[in-house]
Symmetry: C2
Subunit: 367 residues, 2 copies
Amino acid sequence: MTPKTPIAIDAMGGDRGPAAVVEGILRARARFGGKYLVFGRPHVLEQEFQKLSGSIPEEIVIRPANEIITMDDAPVEAIREKKNSSLVLAARAVREKNAAAIVSPGNTGAVLAAGTLILGRCRGVERAGIAAVIPTPEHYSVLIDVGANVDCRPIHLLHFAIMGMVYARVTLGIQRPRIGLLSIGEERSKGNELTLAAAPLCEQFFRSIDSDRGVFLGNIEGRDIVNGRADVVVCDGFTGNAVLKFGEALAFTITDLLKERITAGPVRKIGALLLRGAFRELKNKIDYSEYGGAPLLGVRSPCIICHGSSNPRAIMNALRVAREQIEQDICGRIERMVSEFTNGGNGDNLKRKGIVSAEERKRKEDV
Amino acid sequence: MTPKTPIAIDAMGGDRGPAAVVEGILRARARFGGKYLVFGRPHVLEQEFQKLSGSIPEEIVIRPANEIITMDDAPVEAIREKKNSSLVLAARAVREKNAAAIVSPGNTGAVLAAGTLILGRCRGVERAGIAAVIPTPEHYSVLIDVGANVDCRPIHLLHFAIMGMVYARVTLGIQRPRIGLLSIGEERSKGNELTLAAAPLCEQFFRSIDSDRGVFLGNIEGRDIVNGRADVVVCDGFTGNAVLKFGEALAFTITDLLKERITAGPVRKIGALLLRGAFRELKNKIDYSEYGGAPLLGVRSPCIICHGSSNPRAIMNALRVAREQIEQDICGRIERMVSEFTNGGNGDNLKRKGIVSAEERKRKEDV
């Protein structure tokens, strides 16, 4: 698998239909190069490409897929039954090594199911987790899991912490990510049953690795997701999903309230005109399309879940992130880190670990 | 207990010290009338009152309390050991019917412990819950629980739903609150073990009451906390705490980012000046001091937990909310609703309920 291997794209599942996806692919090709396998109804896709670029560039190959998994389909059933859907065929292309990563703006549950059932989980990883990028004043933080696992065991949170650390290094370029466990207070005694059991596991793991690779902060609070204190925030998928969706809506509500107020009356309208640039900068900062979708981490190949209503810019950025993850072998790094330390996910090996041999340290440094 | 009974205030536990609390009490007395028992170090409080109003109005009585529970104290231990603290003595005054409600800006965990251990839970309520008011575009929603119970059972969520409904009616003036169960998707199949078990309990309860009293929406998502779809959002205290603290920080981050950008350069500074009023309106809308603290619901008398850094305005509003809750007998209403339907909190009675007698319906209408 080389960086030359194409990325597979499910072009049919998004809320905006294939037009936005096709435009996103053309932009990604123009900016980052690369090859693309585009799955969907051939005549629809051909039309879209012709409309936008006159012809289909040779780096882009359309692969026929006549079924579509809709937003209302039950995820696992859809993956099993719609074998000729653009999503299933794109995932199978990755599994069969004809593509190196998959990007889809479709039904989130179905992409998650395709990732775990068709691509398969990394060795040692018990649950794949969805990571989301959250803007902070100076940079970004990674929130994991935002919805793949609603009921978690402590070892799952440790795996999320490891996967989040690798992701922060690879995609956000943070050399020494600070990892926090989301809880209701900073004190060690604060938390629910799950976090109280997960905290010592995480402590043990991060003590055992080179501290230049990542640092465990212990418990952090909801405010630390967004204030820049942590680079990676670890939580169960129920809490993460609630936080993420709440945050998206809150950002919109605040900007809507502001918009309503800054256009009330002629004086304010002039003020709003003078501040147009400032508002645009803010919008860009909190605009999800900047981050290119949420990766499903812990599966064998990069799998990027895009927002259902992704615009071309969001698709382009998702393809950029997929490319980065291929080039930096994020999946291999996660697999090595997790299986090295947790012995197949049961944590026994972790407990036995006290001293890390020079050889092991070397291997870790490669991760 | 009449509306003339004073409100007990813990004046010592807040981050800003007694000055902010004293000013808040003076403002509340000037605006809403009423009597106040103020617990703390007498000479400190006397000084503050003299500084602000020259003398101490006769409706305000200082009660000596020489110990202080700090933000770092372990809650339950502090309540047991610091028997002469302003918080414990204020709570005991309520329990002994010398005051009708308690307001404290102190250590949240300690106020929670004082509420459940000294005031005592309402009959039938298994867990008290903390409610927070969240601004929505048109009005407000109530999020419950935001931190009292990190690990919940399904019946607790039902009790939160009932308490949230009564609170929305009493404090937000919503005649027919729409109650939603926070989950990761709207479909009935979506949720974690807890919400999947709690949803049918809530459905059964809300089917059994007069639908003019409140309506159960089923599952809602994080976005619905803030978009106005629901008036009451029910969740476990771990999730609610994460969401609330994240939301507060996100609102600050967005306004900070905006502030930074609208003052970058002279043109923008003029624009910002013209929009001063708009920004102030937005700030008021998202300012927590407007809502007067978070009530602990499910205990026998009104108990308002204020933000540790409450300013005088926040204290004043907390005293207003306490007064409303006394006048409208919120605790009695909650107790009647919960014990009527859940037979001491075990849910057995709820399952047996099918048809509601005329007499029972009459009683419910009084609630």
